[in-house]
Each structure stands twice: as C-alpha cells, then as structure tokens.
Symmetry: C2
Subunit: 391 residues, 2 copies
C-alpha cells in the first residue's frame, strides 16, 4: 500500500506513528473523530479538545509561487489551510460552543521574510472575521514564530484549536450502522462563502502531488524545496512549473496545488442544527482519504459506489505520477472531503443544507454489515475498478 | 545589537516578528507576561490562555548525539524543552487551575525514525507523571506528527498549553515599581526534582551556541544539521564534537547543549502561595534574555548589579564564538532564567522557597525610577563591564 507516497518519505496510513502512539499509551479511540477530555471548568455537561494540525508541505507550493511572482499574498492561503485542517476535524464531533486559536510558524528567515509573516498573521485576522460572519466565532489567543533555518528549509505553518463542546451532543462515529447511507460533500466548486473555485486538494497528499506534477526544471533554482536525500527518479518528476496551465485545470498548476483548504464547518453546523439526532458520523477525509472511516465502528462493510467524478487536479496527478488508482484513493479525497453517515430518510435534507451553501452533496454509498463483527471493510466501486481496504 | 546571532538567521529582539504582529493588529501587551483571553466557560472569575512554543534548534543537538551514540533516548529531553518553554511562560502570570497539553512534531522520517517518536511521546507521559507528583496536573489532550522531509531537515518539536487561571490572581508585570528588588533563580545546579545537574541553557540561543561550539569536522557527516546558505565563516566554527569534554564543563558538550530546560513552575507555585500579593512580576528570560523585562511597565531603570557567576557553558560559548559580552546577555540567561520583582521585605522568603527546591536564589538587582516616564532601561553591572539596553 501507498508505495509512491512511501518512497517520498510520507505515509498515508501513518503506521509508524500509530505504533509509536500505542507504545506510549496515547492511541486514538474508535469512538470520536477528534479526541476530547473532561471539561477544564469541571462541568460534566461539557467536554474539551485541544487539536493540532497544519498546512504540511503545502507551504512549498506557496513558496515557489512567491519566488516566481514576488507577491507575498500567496502565503495567505496557508493560514486557512492550518486553521481549517483543525476546524473541520473538530466539527466532525459537533458544533463547539467556544474556540481559541493559536498559531505556530517556523521559518527560514533568510527565505521567508517579514512580509510573508505579516501576510500570514493578517490572514488569521481576516479568517476570524469571515468565520464570525458565518456564525463561528474564533478567538485569536496568540502564537509563536521561530526562526530556525538550520531545521526548517523554508516554512512550517501549524495551528492549534481549543474548544468546548456539549458532551451529550458529541457525534460518536461508533454509531455508524448497517443501513446508513453516506452523503459526500464535494471538495470542488465554489461555496457561497468562498472567493474562488476550489481545486479540491485541501492539505493532504501534497508531497505526492508536488513530486508528480512539478518538474526538476521548475524547481532547480530552489534546492530548498527538496530533501536532498530523495531519490532523483521520484523527486519533482512532473512536467509543470507553478505558473503553467494544464489540460482540464481552470487555474494554474500552482494555484490548484495551493487552493486554500475549504471549510465544511458552516455546513456541518447547519446540518447538526436541522438534523440533531440523525448524523451518526461526520468523517473528514484527511490522512487515509477514502479509507479514513476504517478506524470507526466495527463489523461494517462500507460500500462507496456513487463517487463524484474525479476532479481534474487528481486526474493530472495520477496521469503524470503513474500513481496506481488504489493508492490515489488512499492519499487524495478524489472528489468529496467530508462524509456524513446517516439514515436514508435524512439524506435529502442534509444534501439540501449543503446546497444552500453552494456545495454539492450526493449519496455516494451505503453501509452493510460485515461477516466478521471485529473487522471493517471499505469497498470502492469506481469507474477505474473495484478496490477493497480493510482495517 | 545581536550581530553574531543575526548572521546566523536568528534574532534576539525578534524585531521583524514584532513589526509583523503590530501590522496584523496582534501585538503583545505590556501588562501580562503571557496573553490571556476571556474564559471559555464564560466565568468572569477566570481567564484563559493558549500558549505555543517549542524546542527550537535544540533538536539538532539531540539529533547529533543520536547519530553518534545510536541511542534514541537522547530525544526524551526535547519533550521537556517544548513543554517547559510553555509552562514557565504561563506560570509567570500565576498558577493555572487546569492545564491541557498538545504536542506537534514535524520530522524528516528518513532521519528521525519511529524509535525517536516513541521516545518523545513516552517522555510526555513521564513528564505528566512527574509534574502531577509536584502538584501540577497536566492533561495530555493529543497531538500531531507530520512527515515532511522536504520542509524539515531533521526535527521540529513544538507544544501548546491551554489553561484557565483566576483573573484576580493574575500577576500583572506592569506592577513593577521603583523600590522593588529582583530575585534571580539560578539556571544551573540540580533541583530536588531533577535527575541530573543542569547546564543552564534551556531552549534559547541554541543557534548561536551550536555554531560557536561545534566544529565543521564534527558535523561534516551530517549536512542535514545546517542551512547550506549559511556563511561558512560563521557556521559550526567551534572546536568540539557533541561527545567531547571541555574545560570547566562537568558534562560533555552535547549533554550541556541539550540539557533539558529546567522548570521553575513548582517554585513559582509555592512562592505565589506563600507571598500571595508581593510578587509584582515573574519574568522568564527567554528571547531577549537579560533584557526580557524591558517590555513591561514604563519609566523604570532596572539595575542588575549582583548577577550569578557566568555558568561554564556560557563562558565557553563566548570564548570560542568571540561573542561580545553585550550580546551574550541578550541571547543567553547567563546564570538565572527566572526573575521575581518584589518588595525588599519579601525577598528573603522567596529565596528560602526556592532553596527548599534546591534552586539557589539571590537578589541580583533592584528597580529605580527612570528620568523619562515613557522609557525603560536595563543596566547590567557585570564583571565584564557595564551594559545598557533601552526599550
């Protein structure tokens, strides 16, 4: 599994990490999409979370665009990436009653100047304004910027989200049941609260995407975007520069690869409000992508047979990287980045809610009982073939 | 100011960052050592904080020791560095009533294996146990590990601390007044709750320390510990390898440089409990070191004329790096990493509390009124001369 990705020093399954977490007694549960702990204020009606995530190697795409265009504004999307990768994880367990954000930036100050820093920090302020207008207030609690060029080649943009959430309203993904249908929410198009169309990539699989699409010619002037120990046969093996256009893409390759991570949080909040007891699970397709749901519940056979058409950017990555389809579905969301598991009777309303935000929803599959009550299986029936993944 | 440090791509004053924060409307205040916001549970009796910091480039020293010894246990101290750099900041505003910790690791998975990851994550569990035994419970709320070798040469170890704290008990550093004395708490020696003596370095100035002490010969086999764009005249210009001993050091150079950051939190909690209204400010000498206090209050002339003897590690850095003394005091704590500002009558008790924990305290200076009510001045009267720094 995930051979292309592994060669590049990343892992879709993160098996090594999960083993390390288990050995340290810190393994994730099978019940909640994001872990919670007891309320800091001691109120049993509430739970708390402190969630960390970041923009990953997507910073490299923004950096390359910055070097090509000279415009520091290309860094603004990374604040959205870091925030939303957290926000959409925590909205999978429900609608928090309060949110605090802290940001952490590590940079090579020789390459990432104070102009970039100003753009990034201002972008957090602008995101706060936008989410507040969508009914999601987020307090900016502070942050840290470290100049550490001996450790960081270019830029790391991370964020942490603290929140409180009503315990009885927590969405426990272990409720996924045989008979549920799966509503997928499109990762492409343009939501009513977005300024531009989204390529769909979010902040996962960027290592594979970069190396499949961008070329050595395009990156040769910037050795700082590459681990020098990477096999040259796999590193930046594509045909494109960040400014290039490509067949089927409505934006440049660089714009598509750095398309800011869409937040589904406004949609989820509205779905939870309108269907308070119907949502058995909300799954954010991050690391593991279409197999992400495998961790939750037991004895389930999750059949996805009505997937969205593969978005152009992912087709391009597959074509130029010669990535097996089986692996594409493990690394990239391939068309929908958010799944709702719910009874068939509730599906139409959930889809209607998403539609009001300009996001296409559709029933992409359903849940059956698995013969083995201890196992989970994901079966993808796609135009490119059938693929099965087990827990 | 800080020329040696600047040449290395770091900055003691972080002027660029502060300008970026100001432009983004996120500038730090002059009142509290660590920023707080309104309570997440809506209780005006409480305030909250969400604080981010990390081990910085200290990870490089552990990495070099790992490569020389093959022992992944050398990574354990980094968990303490990341946690304590947060913990001691927030204890400067008082004793929190609850603490949640999240950790963020970014690694080059080709160089930093799962063995290192297991050591790091287990170290957080052990730290939780130890702090709980000292009356400081910390909940481990989760974390994130990213494999991103194209961005991170070796390893980034960051942490975030959320906490709640009683608003009326917040220590407002703006209370520093003419007439106060300054009690410094030693950064060296061995506290009752420490396993080994501390070199005093904590997690600040590691970029300068590494390049002044370690040699090109010692790091040549590991090009991954260096920004290749660094001027070779300043990079790793010292005479030592991490395993070497050095005059006056009771431990190897590598052990001294990676000595885990001491926490003063148990001492501070006890001082606050015994002298509930006397502590005008607690200052954690991180970035800016002996000039850190300049940000707080106004119209103050802060005279430090009884400093601790310069610890051997700092003497060694100065000697081999030919760093001006004036800059040494801006980058390194030089003997005490925690300052208490309090009335003379309370000093003896504060020193006695620290002594019970095996940490030497002493009056290292006092506060006078400055002629200009808008300015602040730090005057160091040292064996090496007098140095003045203004805000």
């Amino acid at each position: 599994v995930s051979d292309s990705y592994k060669t590049l020093g990343a892992s879709a399954s993160k098996a090594g990490l999960h083993q390390a977490l288990t050995q340290a007694g810190l393994a994730a549960g099978e019940d909640l999409f994001a872990p919670v702990c007891a309320d800091v204020a001691g109120d049993p009606a509430y739970s708390c979370f402190l969630h960390a995530d970041g923009a990953g190697t997507k910073t490299i795409v923004s950096y390359l665009r910055y070097r090509e265009t000279g415009d520091p504004q290309v860094f603004a999307g990374l604040a959205q990436d870091a925030l939303v990768m957290n926000l959409d994880d925590v909205f999978c367990i429900g609608t928090p009653s309060s949110l605090l954000l802290s940001n952490a930036i590590s940079r090579n100050a020789r390459l990432i100047g104070d102009d970039a820093l100003t753009v990034l920090l201002s972008a957090y302020k602008e995101l706060q304004r936008r989410f507040a207008a969508l009914g999601i207030p987020i307090e900016l609690a502070g942050g840290e910027t470290a100049d550490c060029g001996d450790v960081v080649r270019t830029l790391v943009v991370d964020a942490v989200l603290f929140g409180r959430i009503r315990t009885e309203r927590l969405i426990r993904a272990s409720r996924i049941s045989a008979g549920d249908v799966i509503v997928g929410l499109s990762s492409t198009g343009q939501a009513t609260y977005e300024d531009t169309p989204n390529s769909g990539i979010a902040s996962n699989g960027l290592t594979l995407a970069r190396h499949c699409l961008l070329s050595k010619a395009a990156t040769a002037a910037y050795p700082e975007v590459l681990d020098p120990n990477l096999d040259p046969n796999v590193a930046y093996r594509g045909p494109f520069g960040v400014q290039d256009s490509a067949d089927g893409l409505s934006m440049s390759v660089g714009e598509a690869l750095s398309s800011p991570t869409r937040s589904y949080a406004p949609v989820l909040a509205a779905v939870y409000a309108q269907l308070p007891d119907s949502i058995h699970a909300a799954i954010h397709l991050t690391g593991g992508a279409q197999t992400k749901v495998l961790r939750f519940g037991r004895g389930l056979r999750i059949v996805k047979d009505q997937l969205f058409p593969v978005p152009p950017l992912f087709s391009l990555i597959r074509q130029h990287g010669q990535v097996p389809w089986r692996e594409m579905y493990q690394v990239f969301n391939m068309g929908h980045r958010l799944e709702l598991y719910l009874p068939p009777s509730a599906a139409e309303r959930a889809i209607a809610v998403a539609g009001k935000f300009g996001i296409e929803g559709r029933i992409i599959g359903h849940v059956e009982a698995h013969g083995d009550p201890a196992a989970n299986l994901v079966c993808l029936r796609t135009e490119q073939g059938e693929f099965e993944y087990s827990r």
